[in-house]
């Protein structure tokens, strides 16, 4: 079974968000990394870039697939996990921890209401 931690919210397209102090972290789920297989490349926005909820913000590639990343919420990028550029396998090894992608300052807190709860996301992946 895939790990779906209770401390975050999810998007149908398998991204997650969790609150870290003032910022919101974004990454991809355990299910997503397993579907992709060995991740070999990640393309992410830069600090200061704006995300729009539901829009593409980057790309993750495994040996066998190219997959777009979608923003769960709107906001300004405040940190980028640059370790992923040299070690994209962190996404496979620890998708909810060291494999985080971005920290974002949310533009509209109400957008969190549109995200899936862990239970809802679990139902989707079953």
């Amino acid at each position: 079974m895939f790990e779906i931690p209770d401390d975050r919210k999810y998007l149908e397209s398998h991204e997650w968000t969790t609150t870290e102090g003032d910022a919101v972290r974004i990454g991809i789920s355990d299910f997503a990394q397993d579907e992709l297989g060995d991740v070999v490349f990640v393309e992410l926005p830069a600090e200061g870039d704006e995300l729009a909820a539901g829009e593409e913000f980057g790309v993750v590639e495994s040996i066998k697939a190219v997959s777009d990343l979608y923003a769960p919420i709107s906001g300004t990028v405040t940190a980028v996990n640059e370790e992923l550029f040299d070690a994209p396998e962190l996404l496979n090894d620890d998708p909810y921890g060291d494999g985080w992608m971005l920290e974002v300052e949310p533009a509209d807190e109400s957008e969190f209401d549109d995200l899936l709860s862990p239970e809802e996301y679990r139902e989707q992946t079953e």
């Binding site: 297989g37 490349f41 393309e43 040996i63 066998k64 190219v66």
Partner: protein
């Protein structure tokens, strides 16, 4: 239309494989990790179920004439138990498929077994029988694709692994491209020292119904088509339907870098067109390249020159698991084909710097 399944489909599913469609077959693409499977083949030994490959047997008094006229290499050079890489081309010299041709031990006459790619069996059966009839040759052509399962055991420890299952066969005496019938786990198999990975190894053809016995007897890491692709890409080996394809990527053996399988001293369909191209020289040629910027080249991406002008196309690409560097294959005009020539690959519209590298990419 339903997909064709290899005899061990359920065995692979139970082992946790994920599957992909390839050439009309539902085949394991990955068991656990493409990277780990790739490393197993480079460092020890892996086993691939390649039962989706086609097999056709050609026998009868005119078997040699038929094979000679429909493949580009010289089949008369084959002794019993020898094999050769070859191409099947149309009238214009365009590759329809590539294949390995085996000469089996003689029965009453010479007998050939050749291995077209997955999903090409019907097409090749039609091609062989219609030319046979047109030329009035006396030869029997049989599509035996679903009579033979095929496993590729590849890697530096492949000889040990296959020998453990076939202790009575002196497989170490086979040189590359030689083959023999051998008893593997009590099953008579056709065992050839061939492969598609760049490593030492064997391809084992066994009767479809005995597949599970033979598979179980061969001790090696199960590998899927995902690592088969990354392994062949590191060697610069062509993938039929992708690096050449009569419809979408029409190429001659000279353009595709396999002129060494063309013997113009033999008579075959497409010979005159190839002779003319050999005289005139090719305009575009198959090359390898390494990306200097971050990114992954993929089939269909454009190749540009240093000024950004599109000059060619990527036919295959990946992140090399051995090198952890992005590599690719494709076609460019011959003036760009020298090693170290700077090109770029357009990845989602962005230019990524690359240099020409003549494969293999690894030593």
């Amino acid at each position: 239309m339903g997909l064709r399944k290899p005899p061990l489909y359920d065995v692979h599913a139970d082992a946790g494989a994920t599957f992909t469609e390839f050439g009309g077959w539902d085949m394991p693409v990955e068991y656990d990790s493409i990277k780990a499977e790739h490393a197993a083949v480079r460092e020890s030994v892996g086993i691939f179920d390649v039962s989706h490959m086609s097999e056709l047997e050609v026998s009868g008094p005119d078997a040699t004439a038929l094979m000679q006229r429909l493949t580009t290499n010289d089949v008369t050079a084959l002794e019993p138990g020898d094999s050769q890489y070859s191409a099947i081309v149309n009238d214009e010299g365009i590759i329809v498929d590539d294949t390995v041709v085996y000469r089996l031990p003689d029965r009453d006459e010479r007998v050939y077994l050749f291995i077209p790619n997955a999903g090409h069996d019907e097409e090749m059966y039609d091609r062989w029988t219609s030319f046979r009839d047109e030329w009035g040759l006396d030869a029997t052509v049989e599509d035996v694709t679903e009579e033979w399962a095929m496993f590729a055991v590849q890697g530096p420890d492949a000889l040990d692994s296959v020998t453990a299952a076939a202790p009575d066969a002196a497989l170490g005496d086979l040189s590359k491209f030689q083959a023999t019938f051998a008893d593997v786990a009590g099953v008579e198999c056709w065992v050839a020292r061939t492969g598609y990975t760049g490593e030492d190894g064997f391809e084992v053809l066994c009767p479809w119904d005995d597949a599970e016995t033979v598979w179980a007897a061969l001790d090696a890491t199960p590998c899927g088509l995902g690592s088969r692709d990354t392994l062949r890409l590191e060697m610069g080996y062509l993938l039929s339907g992708q690096d050449f394809d009569p419809e979408t990527e029409p190429r001659t053996p000279y353009e595709a870098g396999i002129g060494f399988v063309v013997d113009l001293d033999t008579e075959f369909v497409g010979r005159d067109a190839l002779d003319r191209q050999r005289e005139a020289g090719v305009e575009e040629t198959f090359v390898g390249f390494a990306l200097l910027d971050r990114g992954v080249p993929r089939h269909g991406y454009d190749i540009a020159d240093a000024d950004g002008e599109v000059i060619g196309v990527v036919t295959s690409g990946t992140m090399s698991p051995t090198l952890s560097e992005p590599i690719g294959l494709g076609y460019v005009p011959v003036e760009y084909a020298d090693d170290e020539t700077e090109i770029s690959v357009l990845v989602r519209g962005r230019e990524k710097r690359a240099v020409i590298v003549t494969p293999p990419f690894i030593n």
